[in-house]
């Protein structure tokens, strides 16, 4: 799976939880879930659960601690996929 595919998939996952929809137009690796997309912190759990379901991986607490930007999510997904 390419970087671009993962970023696109993350975008699709976060879209329903994004309160600042215009920020989706500039969506890239540097997009911040809370500061840019204004996803509330309770919905961030839904993002994490959706990522787990989508890739069939488990995001442990240490990884979850760092899930703040698209780049973080991509790095965590790649490392969990590689460890499978």
């Amino acid at each position: 799976m390419t970087d671009k595919e993962i970023v696109e998939k993350i975008k699709k996952i976060v879209t329903p939880y994004t309160q600042n929809k215009p920020a989706l137009e500039n969506f890239d690796e540097n997009t911040d879930f809370i500061n840019d997309l204004k996803i509330n912190s309770a919905n961030l759990v839904d993002v994490i659960l959706d990522v787990e379901d989508e890739y069939n991986i488990e995001i442990d607490n240490d990884s979850m601690n760092e899930m703040l930007t698209v780049k973080d999510a991509k790095r965590i997904i790649e490392s969990k996929l590689a460890a499978r």
Binding site: I34, N35, N40, S41, A42, N43, L44, V45, D46, I48, L49, E52, N61, M64, N65, E66, M67, L68
Partner: protein, 192 residues
């Protein structure tokens, strides 16, 4: 140090799918999950614990100038049995730190304050669209008293909001929260 959190409970009930597999164990400790599942009305306890964790996160990160981290299950909440004048009290542990919480629960919102040590606070809850930063500045400059136009609120490098007077960062303990129709702030009443 202090922190707060407000939850629009009507919105919370509508948007939180807490029965989703693994939802509870991503956020809550094993002990909290047991209490939630045994509660007569689980969503109330889910929201109260959540507000306690958020309010404490804000106090803790402000106290130690910590970078952001998404670690709700590291905050261990406990509640006292009794409710006094509509206020529920509790405490929260994070690593070796302990914070005292006061929770105000109505039918439509839950507001929690967390304190690292006893300090008097001014708090205000709004149920309408409001420019919360200018509300805080108005109240803070009234206490001093100084010209409100000389104040601003900006986030620091850890995304923690700070009050500035002219260009000087004041390290005033305060906290802001928004959710749905509600906004709230708390401000420590100190002489500094």
């Amino acid at each position: 140090m202090i922190g707060n959190d407000i939850i629009d409970f009507t919105l919370f009930l509508k948007e939180t799918n807490w029965k989703r597999p693994n939802f509870l164990n991503k956020i809550y400790t094993v002990k909290e999950q047991e209490q939630i599942l045994n509660a007569p009305d689980p969503p109330v306890l889910i929201a109260i614990f959540w507000a306690m964790k958020e309010a404490t996160y804000k106090a803790h990160h402000r106290k130690f100038s910590l970078p952001r981290k998404y670690n709700p299950s590291n905050y261990e909440c406990s509640l006292s049995e009794k409710e006094v004048n509509g206020i529920i009290s509790g405490d929260i542990k994070i690593l070796d730190n302990k914070y005292a919480a006061e929770i105000w629960k109505s039918e439509t919102f839950i507001h929690c304050t967390a304190k690292a040590s006893e300090v008097k606070i001014f708090q205000k809850i709004y149920k309408e669209e409001v420019d919360i930063k200018s509300e805080i500045i108005t109240h803070y400059s009234d206490f001093k008293p100084l010209n409100p136009l000389d104040f601003s609120i900006r986030k620091d490098e850890n995304y923690i909001p700070q009050i500035f007077h002219l260009e000087e960062e004041l390290n005033v303990p305060f906290s802001i929260s928004h959710d749905g129709a509600y906004s709230a702030f708390i401000l420590a009443l100190t002489n500094s």
